[in-house]
Protein backbone atom coordinates (compact mmCIF):
# COMPACT_ATOMS: atom_id res chain seq x y z
CA UNK A 1 0.00 0.00 0.00
CA UNK A 2 1.36 3.33 -1.04
CA UNK A 3 1.94 5.94 1.64
CA UNK A 4 0.22 9.12 0.49
CA UNK A 5 -0.50 12.57 1.85
CA UNK A 6 -4.20 11.92 2.13
CA UNK A 7 -3.44 8.94 4.33
CA UNK A 8 -1.56 11.32 6.61
CA UNK A 9 -4.47 13.77 6.45
CA UNK A 10 -6.87 11.00 7.32
CA UNK A 11 -4.74 10.00 10.25
CA UNK A 12 -4.51 13.62 11.46
CA UNK A 13 -8.26 14.02 11.00
CA UNK A 14 -8.96 10.86 12.99
CA UNK A 15 -6.52 11.82 15.73
CA UNK A 16 -7.97 15.32 15.95
CA UNK A 17 -11.54 14.11 16.21
CA UNK A 18 -10.53 11.37 18.59
CA UNK A 19 -8.93 13.95 20.86
CA UNK A 20 -11.96 16.23 20.54
CA UNK A 21 -14.32 13.40 21.40
CA UNK A 22 -12.23 12.35 24.39
CA UNK A 23 -12.12 15.95 25.59
CA UNK A 24 -15.92 16.18 25.69
CA UNK A 25 -17.25 16.58 29.21
CA UNK A 26 -18.56 13.32 30.57
CA UNK A 27 -20.86 12.62 33.49
CA UNK A 28 -19.03 11.63 36.64
CA UNK A 29 -19.37 7.95 37.34
CA UNK A 30 -18.90 8.45 41.03
CA UNK A 31 -22.28 8.01 42.63
CA UNK A 32 -23.42 11.02 44.63
CA UNK A 33 -25.05 8.69 47.11
CA UNK A 34 -23.27 5.58 48.35
CA UNK A 35 -24.95 2.52 46.97
CA UNK A 36 -24.53 -0.88 48.54
CA UNK A 37 -25.26 -4.28 46.93
CA UNK A 38 -27.41 -5.50 49.79
CA UNK A 39 -30.67 -6.05 47.92
CA UNK A 40 -30.58 -9.86 48.00
CA UNK A 41 -30.00 -9.91 51.78
CA UNK A 42 -32.88 -7.46 52.31
CA UNK A 43 -35.07 -9.63 50.11
CA UNK A 44 -34.14 -12.66 52.23
CA UNK A 45 -35.17 -10.78 55.40
CA UNK A 46 -38.52 -9.82 53.89
CA UNK A 47 -39.11 -13.34 52.59
CA UNK A 48 -38.45 -14.76 56.05
CA UNK A 49 -40.86 -12.23 57.59
CA UNK A 50 -43.60 -13.05 55.10
CA UNK A 51 -43.17 -16.79 54.72
CA UNK A 52 -46.26 -18.36 56.36
CA UNK A 53 -44.99 -21.87 55.85
CA UNK A 54 -42.18 -21.47 58.38
CA UNK A 55 -42.91 -21.92 62.09
CA UNK A 56 -42.14 -18.95 64.30
CA UNK A 57 -38.78 -20.21 65.50
CA UNK A 58 -37.63 -21.15 62.02
CA UNK A 59 -38.77 -17.77 60.69
CA UNK A 60 -36.78 -15.92 63.37
CA UNK A 61 -33.70 -18.04 62.72
CA UNK A 62 -33.90 -17.44 58.93
CA UNK A 63 -34.46 -13.72 59.39
CA UNK A 64 -31.54 -13.46 61.82
CA UNK A 65 -29.17 -15.16 59.37
CA UNK A 66 -30.31 -12.79 56.61
CA UNK A 67 -29.95 -9.76 58.90
CA UNK A 68 -26.41 -10.74 59.87
CA UNK A 69 -25.53 -11.24 56.20
CA UNK A 70 -26.92 -7.80 55.43
CA UNK A 71 -24.91 -6.26 58.29
CA UNK A 72 -21.70 -7.88 56.98
CA UNK A 73 -22.27 -6.41 53.52
CA UNK A 74 -23.16 -3.03 54.98
CA UNK A 75 -20.11 -2.95 57.26
CA UNK A 76 -17.94 -3.53 54.20
CA UNK A 77 -19.77 -0.84 52.22
CA UNK A 78 -19.28 1.62 55.06
CA UNK A 79 -15.55 1.04 55.35
CA UNK A 80 -15.18 1.07 51.54
CA UNK A 81 -16.95 4.42 51.48
CA UNK A 82 -14.56 5.88 54.07
CA UNK A 83 -11.56 4.46 52.21
CA UNK A 84 -12.76 6.00 48.93
CA UNK A 85 -13.00 9.39 50.60
CA UNK A 86 -9.55 8.88 52.07
CA UNK A 87 -8.09 8.08 48.63
CA UNK A 88 -9.70 11.19 47.15
CA UNK A 89 -8.15 13.38 49.84
CA UNK A 90 -4.79 11.68 49.58
CA UNK A 91 -4.50 12.08 45.83
CA UNK A 92 -4.87 15.88 46.03
CA UNK A 93 -1.52 17.20 44.89
CA UNK A 94 -0.52 20.06 47.17
CA UNK A 95 2.55 22.24 47.48
CA UNK A 96 1.51 24.77 50.14
CA UNK A 97 2.46 23.80 53.70
CA UNK A 98 -0.85 24.95 55.14
CA UNK A 99 -2.75 22.86 52.57
CA UNK A 100 -0.66 19.83 53.44
CA UNK A 101 -1.43 20.38 57.13
CA UNK A 102 -5.18 20.44 56.44
CA UNK A 103 -4.89 17.38 54.24
CA UNK A 104 -2.99 15.54 56.99
CA UNK A 105 -5.58 16.50 59.58
CA UNK A 106 -8.46 15.24 57.43
CA UNK A 107 -6.67 11.97 56.68
CA UNK A 108 -6.09 11.51 60.39
CA UNK A 109 -9.78 12.14 61.11
CA UNK A 110 -10.76 9.60 58.45
CA UNK A 111 -8.46 7.02 60.02
CA UNK A 112 -10.11 7.66 63.40
CA UNK A 113 -13.51 7.23 61.78
CA UNK A 114 -12.43 3.87 60.39
CA UNK A 115 -11.22 2.77 63.82
CA UNK A 116 -14.47 3.84 65.44
CA UNK A 117 -16.55 1.73 63.08
CA UNK A 118 -16.02 -1.52 64.90
CA UNK A 119 -18.74 -3.77 63.58
CA UNK A 120 -16.50 -6.75 62.96
CA UNK A 121 -17.34 -10.39 62.29
CA UNK A 122 -17.10 -11.40 65.95
CA UNK A 123 -19.54 -8.71 67.03
CA UNK A 124 -22.00 -9.53 64.27
CA UNK A 125 -21.98 -13.21 65.26
CA UNK A 126 -23.01 -12.34 68.81
CA UNK A 127 -26.07 -10.32 67.78
CA UNK A 128 -29.66 -11.42 68.23
CA UNK A 129 -32.62 -10.14 66.22
CA UNK A 130 -33.00 -6.99 68.29
CA UNK A 131 -29.22 -6.60 68.36
CA UNK A 132 -29.12 -6.41 64.56
CA UNK A 133 -31.74 -3.64 64.63
CA UNK A 134 -29.79 -1.72 67.27
CA UNK A 135 -26.54 -2.22 65.38
CA UNK A 136 -28.12 -0.87 62.17
CA UNK A 137 -29.45 2.14 64.06
CA UNK A 138 -26.03 2.74 65.66
CA UNK A 139 -24.31 2.48 62.29
CA UNK A 140 -26.68 4.99 60.75
CA UNK A 141 -26.10 7.37 63.63
CA UNK A 142 -22.32 6.90 63.36
CA UNK A 143 -22.46 7.51 59.63
CA UNK A 144 -24.43 10.74 59.98
CA UNK A 145 -22.71 12.11 63.06
CA UNK A 146 -19.09 10.98 62.84
CA UNK A 147 -18.38 10.09 59.25
CA UNK A 148 -20.74 12.76 57.85
CA UNK A 149 -18.67 15.44 59.59
CA UNK A 150 -15.31 14.27 58.29
CA UNK A 151 -16.72 13.60 54.82
CA UNK A 152 -18.06 17.16 54.88
CA UNK A 153 -14.61 18.45 55.81
CA UNK A 154 -12.99 16.41 53.02
CA UNK A 155 -15.47 17.63 50.39
CA UNK A 156 -15.21 21.17 51.75
CA UNK A 157 -11.42 21.05 51.48
CA UNK A 158 -11.53 19.98 47.80
CA UNK A 159 -14.00 22.75 47.01
CA UNK A 160 -11.98 25.27 49.02
CA UNK A 161 -8.94 24.47 46.84
CA UNK A 162 -11.02 24.89 43.67
CA UNK A 163 -12.39 28.18 44.96
CA UNK A 164 -8.88 29.48 45.45
CA UNK A 165 -8.08 28.77 41.80
CA UNK A 166 -11.24 30.64 40.80
CA UNK A 167 -10.26 33.63 42.92
CA UNK A 168 -6.85 33.65 41.24
CA UNK A 169 -8.49 33.54 37.82
CA UNK A 170 -10.74 36.47 38.74
CA UNK A 171 -7.76 38.48 40.00
CA UNK A 172 -5.99 37.91 36.68
CA UNK A 173 -9.17 38.86 34.90
CA UNK A 174 -9.36 42.16 36.78
CA UNK A 175 -5.71 42.85 35.97
CA UNK A 176 -6.26 42.19 32.25
CA UNK A 177 -9.48 44.20 32.12
CA UNK A 178 -7.74 47.15 33.76
CA UNK A 179 -4.99 46.95 31.14
CA UNK A 180 -7.50 46.77 28.29
CA UNK A 181 -9.48 49.73 29.63
CA UNK A 182 -6.31 51.73 29.99
CA UNK A 183 -5.31 51.02 26.40
CA UNK A 184 -8.80 51.99 25.23
CA UNK A 185 -8.55 55.17 27.29
CA UNK A 186 -11.80 54.31 29.08
CA UNK A 187 -10.49 53.78 32.59
CA UNK A 188 -11.55 57.18 33.84
CA UNK A 189 -15.16 56.89 32.70
CA UNK A 190 -17.35 57.29 35.75
CA UNK A 191 -19.35 54.05 35.60
CA UNK A 192 -16.37 51.96 34.54
CA UNK A 193 -14.16 53.39 37.27
CA UNK A 194 -16.88 52.72 39.84
CA UNK A 195 -17.28 49.10 38.68
CA UNK A 196 -13.53 48.53 38.73
CA UNK A 197 -13.30 49.76 42.33
CA UNK A 198 -16.22 47.57 43.30
CA UNK A 199 -14.69 44.50 41.58
CA UNK A 200 -11.42 45.12 43.41
CA UNK A 201 -13.25 45.42 46.74
CA UNK A 202 -15.26 42.24 46.09
CA UNK A 203 -12.15 40.29 45.19
CA UNK A 204 -10.37 41.39 48.35
CA UNK A 205 -13.45 40.36 50.30
CA UNK A 206 -13.50 36.96 48.55
CA UNK A 207 -9.82 36.41 49.37
CA UNK A 208 -10.31 37.32 53.04
CA UNK A 209 -13.37 35.08 53.44
CA UNK A 210 -11.56 32.28 51.68
CA UNK A 211 -8.68 32.60 54.13
CA UNK A 212 -11.18 32.49 57.00
CA UNK A 213 -12.63 29.26 55.57
CA UNK A 214 -9.06 27.90 55.42
CA UNK A 215 -8.63 28.66 59.12
CA UNK A 216 -11.82 26.72 59.87
CA UNK A 217 -10.50 23.77 57.86
CA UNK A 218 -7.27 23.88 59.85
CA UNK A 219 -9.25 23.72 63.08
CA UNK A 220 -11.35 20.78 61.77
CA UNK A 221 -14.43 22.91 62.41
CA UNK A 222 -17.99 21.82 61.73
CA UNK A 223 -18.42 20.91 58.05
CA UNK A 224 -21.56 23.06 57.78
CA UNK A 225 -19.63 26.06 59.09
CA UNK A 226 -16.79 25.42 56.61
CA UNK A 227 -19.26 25.11 53.77
CA UNK A 228 -20.93 28.40 54.70
CA UNK A 229 -17.57 30.20 54.90
CA UNK A 230 -16.56 29.00 51.41
CA UNK A 231 -19.97 29.96 50.06
CA UNK A 232 -19.59 33.41 51.52
CA UNK A 233 -16.23 33.80 49.71
CA UNK A 234 -17.82 32.63 46.49
CA UNK A 235 -20.70 35.09 46.89
CA UNK A 236 -18.18 37.94 46.97
CA UNK A 237 -16.40 36.41 43.98
CA UNK A 238 -19.67 36.16 42.04
CA UNK A 239 -20.27 39.85 42.74
CA UNK A 240 -16.93 40.71 41.11
CA UNK A 241 -18.16 38.95 37.96
CA UNK A 242 -21.29 41.09 38.02
CA UNK A 243 -18.92 44.06 37.90
CA UNK A 244 -17.02 42.51 34.97
CA UNK A 245 -20.24 41.95 33.03
CA UNK A 246 -21.27 45.57 33.61
CA UNK A 247 -17.87 46.79 32.44
CA UNK A 248 -18.16 44.58 29.36
CA UNK A 249 -21.59 46.10 28.60
CA UNK A 250 -20.20 49.62 29.05
CA UNK A 251 -17.28 48.96 26.72
CA UNK A 252 -19.63 47.36 24.18
CA UNK A 253 -21.46 50.66 23.88
CA UNK A 254 -18.30 52.20 22.45
CA UNK A 255 -16.30 49.32 20.99
CA UNK A 256 -17.79 46.26 19.23
CA UNK A 257 -16.71 43.20 21.23
Amino acid sequence: MKFRIYHVSLAVFTLFFGAWFLALPRPSFAASVSECPVDSQIQAILSAQNNKELDELEAIRTELIARKDALRVLAKCLTDDVRRTREEVQKLSLSDERDKRVQGRILENLDNVLREQNLDEARINELGLRGTRDAARALKDWRARVYGQVKGQADGFALWLKSRTLIGTAENRLHNITGTLRSLDMIDKEEISRQLDSADHNLREARERHDAAGALLEQSADSGEISLAIKSALDALAKSYENFFTISDEVKKVVPL
Binding site: R4, I5, Y6, S9, L10, F13, F16, F17, V33, S34, E35, C36, P37, V38, D39, I42, Q43, L46, N50, A70, L71, L74, C77, L78, T132, R133, A136, R137, L139, K140, R143, A144, G148, D155, G156, L159, L166, T169, A170, R173, N176, I177, T180, L184, S223, G224, S227, I230, K231, L234, D235, L237, A238, Y241, F244, F245, V251, V255, P256, L257
Partner: protein
Protein backbone atom coordinates in the same frame (compact mmCIF):
# COMPACT_ATOMS: atom_id res chain seq x y z
CA UNK B 1 17.29 21.08 -56.50
CA UNK B 2 19.41 18.72 -54.53
CA UNK B 3 19.04 20.96 -51.54
CA UNK B 4 15.25 20.93 -51.87
CA UNK B 5 15.24 17.15 -52.06
CA UNK B 6 17.27 16.96 -48.86
CA UNK B 7 14.91 19.35 -47.13
CA UNK B 8 11.90 17.25 -48.17
CA UNK B 9 13.65 14.15 -46.87
CA UNK B 10 14.11 15.88 -43.53
CA UNK B 11 10.45 16.97 -43.44
CA UNK B 12 9.36 13.35 -43.99
CA UNK B 13 11.10 12.40 -40.82
CA UNK B 14 8.90 14.74 -38.74
CA UNK B 15 6.57 12.51 -36.71
CA UNK B 16 3.81 13.56 -34.29
CA UNK B 17 4.08 12.86 -30.58
CA UNK B 18 2.83 9.32 -29.79
CA UNK B 19 0.27 10.47 -27.28
CA UNK B 20 -0.99 13.22 -29.59
CA UNK B 21 -1.31 10.77 -32.49
CA UNK B 22 -3.23 8.33 -30.30
CA UNK B 23 -5.63 10.99 -28.98
CA UNK B 24 -6.19 12.40 -32.49
CA UNK B 25 -6.91 8.93 -33.86
CA UNK B 26 -9.42 8.31 -31.06
CA UNK B 27 -11.12 11.66 -31.72
CA UNK B 28 -11.41 10.92 -35.46
CA UNK B 29 -13.03 7.54 -34.87
CA UNK B 30 -15.28 9.01 -32.12
CA UNK B 31 -13.81 6.92 -29.33
CA UNK B 32 -13.82 8.53 -25.85
CA UNK B 33 -10.51 10.21 -25.39
CA UNK B 34 -8.41 8.81 -22.61
CA UNK B 35 -7.02 11.75 -20.74
CA UNK B 36 -3.95 10.41 -19.21
CA UNK B 37 -1.48 12.91 -18.04
CA UNK B 38 2.05 11.93 -17.49
CA UNK B 39 2.80 11.37 -13.80
CA UNK B 40 5.46 13.84 -12.80
CA UNK B 41 6.65 14.33 -9.23
CA UNK B 42 5.00 17.76 -9.24
CA UNK B 43 1.60 16.45 -10.38
CA UNK B 44 1.85 13.68 -7.79
CA UNK B 45 2.44 16.23 -5.03
CA UNK B 46 -0.36 18.49 -6.29
CA UNK B 47 -2.81 15.62 -6.57
CA UNK B 48 -2.20 14.48 -3.02
CA UNK B 49 -2.22 18.04 -1.74
CA UNK B 50 -5.67 18.56 -3.25
CA UNK B 51 -7.09 15.49 -1.54
CA UNK B 52 -5.40 16.39 1.74
CA UNK B 53 -6.79 19.94 1.60
CA UNK B 54 -10.26 18.64 0.85
CA UNK B 55 -10.22 16.38 3.88
CA UNK B 56 -8.81 19.16 6.07
CA UNK B 57 -11.57 21.52 4.91
CA UNK B 58 -14.26 18.97 5.65
CA UNK B 59 -12.74 18.47 9.09
CA UNK B 60 -12.76 22.21 9.70
CA UNK B 61 -16.37 22.44 8.58
CA UNK B 62 -17.36 19.67 10.96
CA UNK B 63 -15.55 21.37 13.83
CA UNK B 64 -17.31 24.63 13.08
CA UNK B 65 -20.63 22.80 12.79
CA UNK B 66 -20.45 20.60 15.86
CA UNK B 67 -17.89 22.27 18.07
CA UNK B 68 -19.76 25.50 18.69
CA UNK B 69 -16.79 27.43 17.39
CA UNK B 70 -17.65 31.10 17.27
CA UNK B 71 -15.40 32.03 14.38
CA UNK B 72 -17.29 35.16 13.47
CA UNK B 73 -15.94 36.77 16.59
CA UNK B 74 -12.54 36.76 14.96
CA UNK B 75 -13.98 39.10 12.39
CA UNK B 76 -14.59 41.74 15.03
CA UNK B 77 -11.99 44.49 14.61
CA UNK B 78 -11.72 44.92 18.40
CA UNK B 79 -11.67 41.48 19.90
CA UNK B 80 -10.79 42.08 23.53
CA UNK B 81 -10.35 38.74 25.21
CA UNK B 82 -10.44 40.04 28.75
CA UNK B 83 -13.94 41.43 28.24
CA UNK B 84 -15.27 38.59 26.13
CA UNK B 85 -18.68 37.72 27.54
CA UNK B 86 -18.34 34.00 26.73
CA UNK B 87 -15.15 33.77 28.82
CA UNK B 88 -16.69 35.76 31.66
CA UNK B 89 -19.78 33.57 31.61
CA UNK B 90 -17.71 30.36 31.69
CA UNK B 91 -15.82 31.57 34.76
CA UNK B 92 -19.01 32.76 36.48
CA UNK B 93 -20.61 29.36 35.82
CA UNK B 94 -17.63 27.62 37.42
CA UNK B 95 -18.35 29.65 40.57
CA UNK B 96 -22.02 28.73 40.68
CA UNK B 97 -21.10 25.10 40.05
CA UNK B 98 -19.02 25.05 43.24
CA UNK B 99 -21.78 26.88 45.13
CA UNK B 100 -24.21 24.12 44.16
CA UNK B 101 -21.73 21.43 45.19
CA UNK B 102 -21.23 23.15 48.54
CA UNK B 103 -24.96 22.78 49.19
CA UNK B 104 -24.42 19.03 48.91
CA UNK B 105 -21.64 19.00 51.51
CA UNK B 106 -24.06 19.29 54.40
CA UNK B 107 -26.61 17.12 52.64
CA UNK B 108 -27.56 13.85 54.26
CA UNK B 109 -28.81 11.02 52.12
CA UNK B 110 -32.58 10.80 51.97
CA UNK B 111 -34.41 7.57 51.15
CA UNK B 112 -34.77 7.53 47.39
CA UNK B 113 -36.72 4.61 46.17
CA UNK B 114 -37.30 2.27 49.03
CA UNK B 115 -40.91 1.58 48.05
CA UNK B 116 -39.96 0.58 44.52
CA UNK B 117 -37.01 -1.50 45.61
CA UNK B 118 -39.01 -3.29 48.22
CA UNK B 119 -42.07 -3.77 46.04
CA UNK B 120 -39.98 -5.69 43.54
CA UNK B 121 -38.47 -7.82 46.27
CA UNK B 122 -41.64 -8.77 48.10
CA UNK B 123 -43.78 -11.62 46.82
CA UNK B 124 -47.28 -10.55 45.70
CA UNK B 125 -49.84 -10.38 48.50
CA UNK B 126 -47.26 -10.14 51.27
CA UNK B 127 -47.52 -7.43 53.94
CA UNK B 128 -45.33 -4.45 53.16
CA UNK B 129 -46.58 -1.66 55.36
CA UNK B 130 -43.67 -1.40 57.79
CA UNK B 131 -41.13 -1.05 54.99
CA UNK B 132 -43.13 1.19 52.69
CA UNK B 133 -43.50 3.69 55.47
CA UNK B 134 -39.81 4.49 54.98
CA UNK B 135 -40.96 6.70 52.12
CA UNK B 136 -39.43 7.59 48.77
CA UNK B 137 -40.88 8.24 45.35
CA UNK B 138 -41.65 5.67 42.71
CA UNK B 139 -38.61 5.04 40.55
CA UNK B 140 -39.12 3.04 37.40
CA UNK B 141 -35.51 1.97 37.01
CA UNK B 142 -34.50 -0.11 40.01
CA UNK B 143 -31.14 0.82 41.51
CA UNK B 144 -29.19 -0.75 44.35
CA UNK B 145 -30.09 0.51 47.79
CA UNK B 146 -27.96 3.22 49.32
CA UNK B 147 -26.20 2.49 52.59
CA UNK B 148 -28.60 4.70 54.53
CA UNK B 149 -31.66 3.15 52.93
CA UNK B 150 -30.46 -0.34 53.76
CA UNK B 151 -29.68 0.73 57.34
CA UNK B 152 -33.17 2.19 57.63
CA UNK B 153 -34.74 -1.10 56.61
CA UNK B 154 -32.47 -3.11 58.91
CA UNK B 155 -33.25 -0.94 61.90
CA UNK B 156 -36.98 -1.74 61.60
Amino acid sequence: MEQLERLLQQLRQIMPDDGYARRSRMQIIGFPVERRTRLTPWSFVMHNLQIGSAIALVALLLIVGFGGFSGWKLLSPFRIASLDVANLRAEAEAISDIQVRLDGVAYTEAPRHITSTISRTIPPGAKTTSIESAGGTEDKTPKPLTIDEALDILSQ
